[in-house]
């Protein structure tokens, strides 16, 4: 597992940063983000917390070995769930990859909160983890299958060669004794 984190202050008050969140894309610095769709949104009538679930579409120039090995395409999709809580002035964004998620997960968390100087603190963490257990079980299955095939072939090879030897020498022995 790999872990990433960064902490940064934006020179804008919290509410401006959070309004800006919805205007982040399209962005020439992040041209890999091709599409954004809201798939679910609710406003909690008790707390006023806004929950938004979005799907981001990205164009990834993945290395050729990744595409060959995992059969990925250029289009990669990410699920993102955000919560904006005006009462505590906290905004959190959690993202996870949908594409290639059977092989590995990239789990990202972002938090925006006000800093005492009227700026906004941005905290980002990410965990990148290959699904080793899944690979291990696939690798074990492959190994077992190979062992079985090898045993079968070894058995057939033994039978086949026994036949060849018997036929070869039986006929020669017969010729000699004749």
């Amino acid at each position: 597992m790999h872990y990433f984190s960064q902490l940064y202050n934006y020179d804008h008050p919290w509410s401006r940063v959070v309004i800006g969140m919805w205007h982040k894309y399209p962005n020439p610095h992040c041209s890999h983000v091709m599409s954004i769709d809201v798939v679910d949104r609710s406003i909690d009538p008790q707390t006023g917390i806004i929950r938004t679930e979005r799907i981001l579409g990205c164009k990834q120039k993945a290395p050729i070995w990744i595409v060959k090995l995992f059969g990925g395409s250029e289009d990669a999709f990410v699920r993102e769930v955000s919560f904006v809580d005006p009462a505590t002035q906290t905004a959190t964004i959690t993202s996870v990859n949908l594409s290639l998620s059977q092989f590995a997960t990239c789990y990202e968390s972002i938090r925006y909160s006000p800093s005492p100087d009227g700026k906004t603190t941005f905290k980002q963490t990410a965990e990148i983890q290959a699904r080793v257990a899944l690979w291990q079980s696939a690798a074990n299955k492959l190994e077992n299958w190979l062992v079985q095939r090898f045993e079968q072939n070894a058995h057939l090879g033994k039978l086949g060669f026994s036949d060849v030897l018997r036929q070869l020498w039986e006929s020669r022995d017969q010729q000699q004794s004749a």
């Binding site: 399209p26 954004i36 769709d37 798939v39 008790q46 005006p86």
Partner: protein, 98 residues
């Protein structure tokens, strides 16, 4: 404004995003300062939620229909459901991970 993952949904998406942004910008600042008592917050949140439904509800349902169809066509519905089961995220995360 960004595009939808399906070209045919982009006009509805942009209409919906514009509607939400206009509402949100009128919501956030007063919502931050409305934290005097829990009762006042609830009253304010209910009013604002109703206002959002009134101004953006119709376009939201049209856009949602369109995007749900597109998500299904791309086979993303299965992956999305899987991700929702693994991590429903119905409540704000308490720390950076959970």
């Amino acid at each position: 404004m960004s595009s939808s993952l399906a070209e045919e949904c982009t006009p509805l998406k942009r209409k919906y995003d514009a509607c939400f942004n206009a509402w949100f910008e009128g919501y956030l600042e007063p919502a931050v300062s409305a934290s005097i008592t829990p009762a006042q917050r609830t009253k304010f949140s209910q009013e604002k939620a109703a206002e959002f439904e009134q101004s953006c509800g119709q376009v939201w349902r049209e856009y949602k229909d369109c995007v749900q169809r597109a998500v299904k066509e791309k086979g993303l519905d299965v992956l999305l459901d899987q991700a929702r089961v693994e991590n429903p995220l119905k409540e704000p995360p308490t720390d950076s991970r959970s």
